[in-house]
């Protein structure tokens, strides 16, 4: 009699303890509301986010645009094709921003114009320009416009741009010998 009662009691305690699972699952299942109805398992991805840049689709993360780097003079214009590749495992949105560093300060880069378009290179050598719609621009004696957000780029897909560097007519004579480093940064962000 005692034994059956204690066995029953033990079963009852175990049954009550097992309810703890529901508490724990309650803690976890609220995850679903965080992830917009998708199960949390589906939400967890061992994603990597990376972009490649180059003259053709590829995975390199830095690229030196093959324009003539020396002997720039007013009126000179050079253009090259840029290909951004999503080397991530997931589709990513990305932004394009520009910056320049001048030596001496506020010199050549400030005087230059830079244009990123969705078109193609036209013309050759020191008189090449970009066709197509403007995406990002830097005017002479001005900073780059704000970073431009591009839509989502599917994994493995790539976008082709044309970038045009120009030293406009009327650039100051005092810029002779100045140097600048002009950088276009393509940043993909996922998760914020």
């Amino acid at each position: 009699m005692k034994r059956t009662q204690s066995a029953r009691r033990s079963m009852q305690i175990k049954a009550m303890l097992s309810l703890g699972m529901l508490v724990g699952l309650g803690a976890v299942s609220t995850l679903a509301s965080w992830t917009g109805g998708a199960t949390a398992t589906a939400h967890i991805t061992a994603a990597t986010v990376s972009l490649g840049i180059g003259g053709t689709a590829g995975g390199a993360t830095t690229y030196t645009v093959p324009i003539t780097g020396s002997n720039w003079y007013p009126g000179m214009s050079q253009a090259q094709k840029l290909v951004v590749t999503n080397t991530s495992t997931v589709a990513v949105p990305y932004s394009i921003s520009g910056s320049f560093t001048d030596v001496p300060a506020a010199g050549l880069g400030l005087a230059m114009t830079l244009l990123v378009s969705d078109g193609a290179v036209q013309g050759t050598t020191s008189n090449a320009t970009c066709s197509g719609a403007q995406i990002l621009k830097k005017d002479a004696m001005a900073a780059f416009t704000a970073p431009v957000n591009r839509g989502s780029l599917a994994a493995g897909a790539s976008d082709t741009f044309c970038v045009q560097y120009q030293l406009p007519l009327g650039a100051a004579n005092t810029l002779q010998g100045a140097t600048t480093s002009m950088t276009l940064t393509f940043t993909a962000t996922v998760g914020s």
């Binding site: 079963m11 309810l19 976890v28 650039a171």
Partner: protein
Amino acid sequence: MRHVNRHARIGRAKASTALGDRLTRWAFNGGAILGSVCLVFVALTLIFGLKPLIFTSGSMSPGIPTGSLALAVPMPAADTVPGQVVSVVNTQGSRITHRVVTAADGALVLKGDANALADLEPYTVDSVDKVLFSVPGLGFVISWFSQPWVAFLAGLLCALLIVKAFILRDSEDRGRDGSQDGPGRHRHRKEQRARQWLGTGALVTAIALAVPLGVAGTIHPTQAAFEGKAVASATLAAAVMPAPSGLGCQDPASGNKSVTVNWVAPSNVPVAVDHYKITVTVGGKTSVGTVPASATSQILSLTDAQGLLGGLLALLGNLLDFLLTGPKSVGVSVVAVYSGGWESTAISNSSLAEISSYALVSTRILCN
């Protein structure tokens, strides 16, 4: 009683029943263990204010890979120091767990270990959750358990265990029901009913407690905002426009009323020379003229009033009076002006030629 019971049990010991008993024991023990673990976990999070975090991306890898479960404790944002791993909620409402780069003026700059650059958005928060430790893989397990069918199975198991423990009459109940009469049986029935009510009450109470407790102990998925970056750069250098060279002066074959200034066109030009700019200086007065790129010389004539030198001399008044104090140097400088407007430095000679009076009535110019 015990004796009888044992015999009865042995009598019932058929294989299928034994298996059923074993399964039942397993279900009770397993349920109790899992439930206890969950209870302890939720209790700890509630008592110490711990926040469990599941990493849904890997920007803190390799230290904290995707699918890790971390425990974090709240702390004031002002107390953070660079190097700590903290969890914040960004303006879009996503939870981000990254390492502190700088913490100045209440704005936290965070960066994922696997990211090349810091998060774009500095976080202005009062409180952060500092990650105490993390366990790789446990997040996957826990999030797997959040699937609806798992919850359904767990609920079903709990319900079965409750029913078995509280509500079902077991064989002894039946045995006693059959063998006992009168007050004993009646008492037992009462006990049984009380037990069933207790079970139902326990079940309702437990569920009523479980749901809010579970919500309070919510595990937060945290993303580690992932960033990838690619850079296209170009280094540009402006040309230094080369100057003409070899500035010289040549007397004419006959006469002494003019000289020819000549120079050598610059070499290695980045762009074609558009024209030359020649500046003549006499007695502090200057005159500037242009010479087309095709020519690399300029005649300076005393007699051509429209010319470069003639025009300049007109500014000086009576030339003979001007020369009374002695011969005067003629300075010349030449600059190459390029397409696009940039000029080279000047090539110059402050006394390339000399103007002097000649027999008191005439003037002449001779190269030096």
